[in-house]
């Protein structure tokens, strides 16, 4: 798919991988809207990428999602591409020895990660896919997953959510393919982004780099390049492309 003048909705586009994706979409002539929960980040993005439309939206709230999709659909008349990038990274073991004895992974953290990373993807895709069907758009859904979908220690909620995203990618590809809608995934490995540095210590990052054959983290630009590649290849469908420098969890 050629991106020139395509109507694209990107979630979580103010920082990290999403910011790089936004930049590349604009460079390729797409009409871009970014939905994000960060108001100051959206202001900055609008200033840095003239022409990029921004919507304040919590993707874990289906009402906000529907409103956001409706606004972009009304403005554009159709939606060609949805990129489900918004998510939160979260690390906590299932159980651990704490000062007060054995502690369990709390239910609130579990639910929050599932709400944003898995339910948010479901809400946004169902809303956009409905518009695609309504206008008979032969569109594309790109889900940003993670290699943690295979299971990663210390990431019960995040791994489960991303495994769910992979399952949805295959399911939706099978459901929507007949209408000409592709559904694909990108699974980044550990990437050099603000969220990675926020949740992983420098010691942990050194250990991770030693386990990557290329001995480094991925760059946001490289992940964004992968997104552009799966957008442009019209026969790539229902699969999740791992971009992890050769690391397998």
């Amino acid at each position: 798919m050629n991106l020139e003048k395509k109507s694209v909705l990107l979630t979580g586009g103010v920082a990290g991988i999403g910011r790089e994706i936004a930049q590349k979409l604009m460079e390729r002539g797409a009409c871009l809207a970014v939905a994000d929960i960060n108001p100051s980040g959206l202001e900055q993005l609008a200033a840095e990428l003239p022409g990029c439309v921004t919507y304040l939206c919590d993707i874990s709230d289906p009402t906000q999602v529907d409103e956001c999709v409706e606004r972009w659909f009304e403005k554009q008349g159709h939606i060609d591409i949805l990129i489900n990038n918004a998510g939160i990274l979260f690390n906590k073991p299932l159980v651990r020895f704490g000062p007060g004895g054995v502690e369990k992974h709390d239910a609130a953290s579990w639910q929050k990660v599932i709400d944003v990373n898995l339910s948010g993807t479901f809400y946004m895709t169902s809303s956009v896919a409905a518009k695609m069907l309504q206008k008979r758009t032969r569109g594309l859904i790109v889900n940003i997953s993670s290699i943690s979908a295979a299971g990663n220690r210390g990431q019960s909620a995040y791994s489960a959510a991303k495994a769910g995203v992979n399952a949805l990618t295959a399911t939706w590809a099978k459901e929507l393919g007949v209408m000409g809608i592709r559904v694909v995934g990108i699974a980044p490995g550990y990437s050099d982004t603000p969220s990675t540095h926020k949740v992983l210590s420098e010691d942990m990052l050194r250990q991770i780099k030693s386990e990557v054959p290329l001995r480094r983290l991925g760059r946001a630009e490289e992940i964004a390049n992968g997104v552009m590649a799966v957008i442009e290849n019209d026969f790539f469908n229902g699969k999740v492309l791992a971009l992890d420098g050769g690391m397998v969890i």
Binding site: E175, V178, M179
Partner: protein
């Protein structure tokens, strides 16, 4: 067109063509579900070289209704 529509429906729903008639409805069929309906729409568009609107698609819940839509689009027996 009747024969073609009946054959097409029978192939898609994996039924004997003798079982396909105007009274067959989506609601009463075990195999004609919403996913099969999308497949049906694309097949009809390809076979009869036409484009169906969302309103057409929503209305095409029986063989009779499909036949009426096709006839409105100039596809006659």
């Amino acid at each position: 067109m009747n024969d073609k529509l009946n054959t097409l429906m029978a192939d898609l729903l994996r039924m004997d063509s003798s079982q396909v008639n105007d009274e067959l409805t989506m609601a009463e069929s075990d195999v004609w579900d919403s996913l099969k309906h999308m497949e049906l729409i694309v097949t009809l568009e390809d076979e009869f070289d036409l484009e169906l609107s969302p309103e057409d698609i929503i209305n095409m819940m029986s063989v009779k209704a499909i036949r009426e839509v096709l006839e409105r689009k100039g596809i006659k027996n």
